[in-house]
Each structure stands twice: as structure tokens, then as C-alpha cells.
């Protein structure tokens, strides 16, 4: 709460005294001089992305394995996570406020709830798309249900699971910018504080897009490492 009010009241003059800044043009010099002040927000933003995606992945994986065993659970899980998915994150922060207060935890909880549907749906689709013959062959070799899941079904579902993780990650980078309203910092706080200052908006927004691109490439690399057989085929 306090941090949010501060962000609103803080009237921060953009640093430097060049006429470019005073005229609020797009100022490469100012950016070059002030780039270091975006370092901490960028790191905060990185955490606000990775932590929710990792927690969301763990929960969604649990739910997906559960729904894989008990098919009838899929519908209710999709309904509930669909509700989380539809609630605007800004509203979610203040709906959580009476329970968790404002701050880091609130932002994380809201962002996690947003990733669940995306990841869950991709895991279940991946598991479902394993060819029946493959599954039969594995069962014929004497694999138990658990071995079937961990050695055959999950590895074969990796491309779809990774696709879900990539979508969830880039979505979370975008939403984490709103975490400033929960008082959790990140690049959104830089954007909001000096939102009339062009250079600031471009740098902070650009860094967010860059972060999404880098994380996406990293996940793509991870997917290639995890699925060596796909490289052999191509």
C-alpha cells in the first residue's frame, strides 16, 4: 500500500539538465547515462516472471497428472483455472489485498493463478496426443502406469509442454509490469512513475520486451536439449 501511494506522489524530475530532457524528446544521451537505474527494476521483473512460472508449472503439472488419471477432473480444473485466467490482474491484486496485504506475495499469487490455465491445458493436450500405438507398445513391454507416464508420455509431450511454458512466460512478462499496482516493483514501476517522459517509457518498455524475447529463446534452447530425437529427425 505505502509503496503504491509513494509511487503516485513521487514527482520525480528526469535526471540531467539537457534541453532534450526538458523538452521531453527522445534522448539517447539521457538513456546512455541513466541505463543503470533500470538494473534493479529489470532484476525484480525477472523474478516476478520466473517465480510465478515455476510455481505455476509445478501446480499445473500436479493437476495435469491428476486429470490424466481421472479424466472427469479435467472439466472442473479448466473451469476454475479459467476463472483465474479471466480476472484482470489489477483487480486480482486488490481482491487479494485483504488476505495477503499488498506486496511481493500478492503479485506472485495473482501471476501464478494466471499461468495455470495455459500450462495445464498444454500438458493435458500433450499427454493426450501421445499415439495409442506408442502407449500400447510401452504397456506390451511391461511398463507400469507410473513408468508409462514418466518414460513415455511425459517425454513425448515435451514439445507441447514447452510451448505452454513459452506462452505463459511471455504473458507473465507483460503482466508483471502491472505488479507495480500491487506494490511489487519491477519495470512497471519505472514506467508508471515517469510515464510522461518518452525516453523512460521506451527504455523500460523495451527492456520488458527484450526480457520476454531472451526468456523465450532460453526456453526454446531448453526444449532442444530435452528433445534430442527431434533434432535427429530434422
Amino acid at each position: 500500500m505505502s509503496r503504491f501511494v509513494l509511487a503516485q506522489l513521487k514527482i520525480e524530475k528526469p535526471g540531467g539538465s539537457g534541453s532534450c530532457v526538458a523538452d521531453n524528446d527522445f534522448c539517447p544521451e539521457w538513456i546512455a547515462e541513466n541505463l543503470d537505474r533500470y538494473w534493479t527494476p529489470l532484476l525484480e521483473h525477472l523474478f516476478l516472471t520466473i517465480v510465478p512460472v515455476v510455481i505455476g508449472f509445478a501446480i499445473a503439472m500436479g493437476l495435469a497428472v491428476l486429470a490424466h488419471r481421472r479424466r472427469w477432473l479435467t472439466g472442473p480444473i479448466v473451469t476454475v483455472t479459467g476463472i483465474f485466467f479471466a480476472i484482470p490482474s489489477v483487480a486480482a491484486f486488490f481482491l487479494l489485498q485483504p488476505i495477503t496485504g499488498l506486496g511481493y506475495t500478492t503479485a506472485i499469487v495473482a501471476l501464478v493463478s494466471y499461468t495455470l490455465l495455459i500450462i495445464f491445458r498444454n500438458i493435458t493436450n500433450g499427454l493426450r496426443n501421445v499415439p495409442a500405438e506408442t502407449r500400447d507398445a510401452a504397456v506390451g513391454q511391461g511398463l507400469t502406469d507410473r513408468q508409462l507416464l514418466t518414460r513415455v508420455e511425459l517425454p513425448m509431450a515435451v514439445p507441447e509442454i514447452m510451448a505452454g511454458l513459452r506462452i505463459a512466460t511471455s504473458t507473465t512478462v507483460g503482466l508483471a509490469a502491472l505488479a507495480v499496482f500491487a506494490g511489487a516493483g519491477g519495470l512497471g514501476s519505472e514506467i508508471l512513475t515517469d510515464r510522461y517522459f518518452k525516453s523512460n517509457v521506451v527504455v523500460a518498455g523495451g527492456l520488458a520486451v527484450l526480457l520476454a524475447a531472451v526468456l523465450d529463446l532460453a526456453l526454446l534452447g531448453l526444449q532442444r536439449l530435452l528433445t534430442p530425437w527431434q533434432r535427429a529427425r530434422a
Binding site: 500500500m1 484482470p88 490482474s89 509490469a177 507495480v180 517522459f197 517509457v201
Partner: protein, 255 residues
């Protein structure tokens, strides 16, 4: 009534804020109550509906055509990737700092946010129509336009409406931060706690969340309504699926 609200604690106070006028935190002005909420809500809906309609007019015809001729894989994937990665707050701030405040800018931002899911879903919907079906239609002597109108479009509708649903929910959700550009939507009480206090923030959040869920639900119904009977029978229904009845394909269970 008031006892029920008291049990709900902060949420009860939030609901009370929506139902009854009160003096603002800083004093002097009356805030909250149905009249003010209706005014904010009307603005919220105005910008949202305008944005979704404009986005549909811009995105759907183009992607129908691209989907029909089968070119635009790159466009469909690129727009959805970029669209996801650009934070809505950054886009709004970009418009505020470079162009200015006001309705036009807010609607422009919302249009830009609504376009990617519409392009992707329309294109994917058109492309996933069974090629044999299209060939059969062509063999019967249908022209290109007839194939789009009578075969591809009806079969693609469920997927297109899936995209429309995501676009609508995104737009209504993002309209919450429109007060940053001086457009007083339902986000106003959330973004100005100096006047509205925590109660106003919670109350408005309850309202915004309920409206978004209602819209999500309505579009889910709509999506089901436009699904051709044939698709419902085969269970081949849309890839992204109506969220409330997940398409399940029965497989032989091996023991």
C-alpha cells in the same frame, strides 16, 4: 443485509462502497454508490466495445483472406508472439508520452491489444479446416468466395470466437488502467486511493472482476452457439475448445 456484509469483512465494505455513496477520504466530495459506478461502467464499456469492434473490422477480413489463400503463417505467429510480450502498461505509457491523453489513445491501445488474438485465431481457424472438405467444395464447382462463406468460415467460427473471447477479456481487463490516460473507467477508484481509499479499490476490483467473468462466460456460450452441429457431433470441436466443456476424444483403453 448489513450483517451479511459485515461478515465478509473488507469485501463487505467493498460491496457497500458500490451500493452506497460516501464522503471521499480527503473529504468534501461524495464518492461511490450506484450512480458513480454506472458512469464509470458506461465509460469502461464504451471504450471496450469500440476497441473490440474496430479490432474485428481491421483484423478479421485480412486474416480470413490470408487463411483462405494459405499465406501468413509468419504474420499469425509473429503478431501473437509480439502481442503477448508487449506489456499493456508499457503500450499505454507509450501512447501517453508520445501522443497524449484521452479517449482516442486509450481506444487505440486497446485495439492494438485485441488485434493479435483475433489474427491468430482467425488464421488458425481457417487453416485447420479439413483440406479434403475444401477440395470437395471446389469439386462441386464452388467459387473461392463461396468456399470461404459456406465452408471455411462456418467451420472456423468456433476458433474465431475463441480469439474474440480472449480479445474481449483482455480489452475489458486493460481498460482498468485507462484512468492513467485520464479516461475514467472502473479503474478510477483502484488507481486513486487518495480519494477512494482501500474500500474503493476493493469495491471496484470486485465489480471489474465480476464484469470480466460475465463477459468471459457470455463469449463461451456464444462460442458454443456458433459451433456447427456437425463439429459438435464428431467431437472435433475447436482446438482451443470451449473452455467449459473440454473436448475429449475417447481412446481405446489398453490394459
Amino acid at each position: 443485509m448489513s450483517t451479511i456484509l459485515a461478515v465478509l469483512g473488507d469485501f463487505g465494505e467493498g460491496i457497500e462502497f458500490l451500493l452506497k455513496e460516501r464522503e471521499s477520504v480527503s473529504g468534501g466530495v461524495q464518492i461511490g454508490g450506484p450512480a458513480e459506478m454506472a458512469a464509470f461502467g458506461a465509460t469502461h464499456m464504451l471504450v471496450s466495445v469500440a476497441a473490440v469492434l474496430i479490432a474485428c473490422a481491421l483484423a478479421i477480413p485480412l486474416s480470413l483472406w490470408l487463411g483462405h489463400i494459405g499465406r501468413g503463417d509468419f504474420l499469425a505467429t509473429a503478431t501473437s508472439n509480439v502481442g503477448r510480450a508487449v506489456p499493456s502498461l508499457a503500450l499505454l505509457a507509450f501512447f501517453i508520452s508520445f501522443i497524449g491523453l484521452g479517449y482516442t489513445n486509450v481506444i487505440s491501445v486497446l485495439v492494438l491489444l485485441a488485434i493479435p488474438p483475433l489474427i491468430t485465431s482467425t488464421y488458425v481457424g481457417m487453416r485447420q479446416v479439413d483440406r479434403d472438405t475444401v477440395d470437395a467444395a471446389r469439386g462441386q464447382g464452388m467459387t473461392g468466395l463461396e468456399i470461404v462463406r459456406k465452408v471455411e468460415l462456418p467451420l472456423a467460427l468456433p476458433t474465431i470466437f475463441g480469439g474474440l473471447r480472449i480479445a474481449a477479456v483482455t480489452v475489458v481487463a486493460t481498460a482498468t488502467i485507462a484512468p492513467l490516460a485520464n479516461v475514467q473507467t472502473l479503474g478510477e477508484p483502484i488507481l486513486t486511493p487518495q480519494t477512494y481509499g482501500v474500500v474503493g479499490q476493493i469495491g471496484a476490483s470486485i465489480l471489474v472482476a465480476s464484469i470480466t467473468l460475465l463477459i468471459d462466460f457470455l463469449f463461451a456460450r456464444l462460442q458454443r452457439a456458433v459451433t456447427p452441429k456437425g463439429l459438435k457431433l464428431t467431437g472435433e470441436a475447436p482446438a482451443k475448445g470451449p473452455r467449459f466443456s473440454f473436448p475429449t476424444r475417447r481412446r481405446l483403453r489398453s490394459t
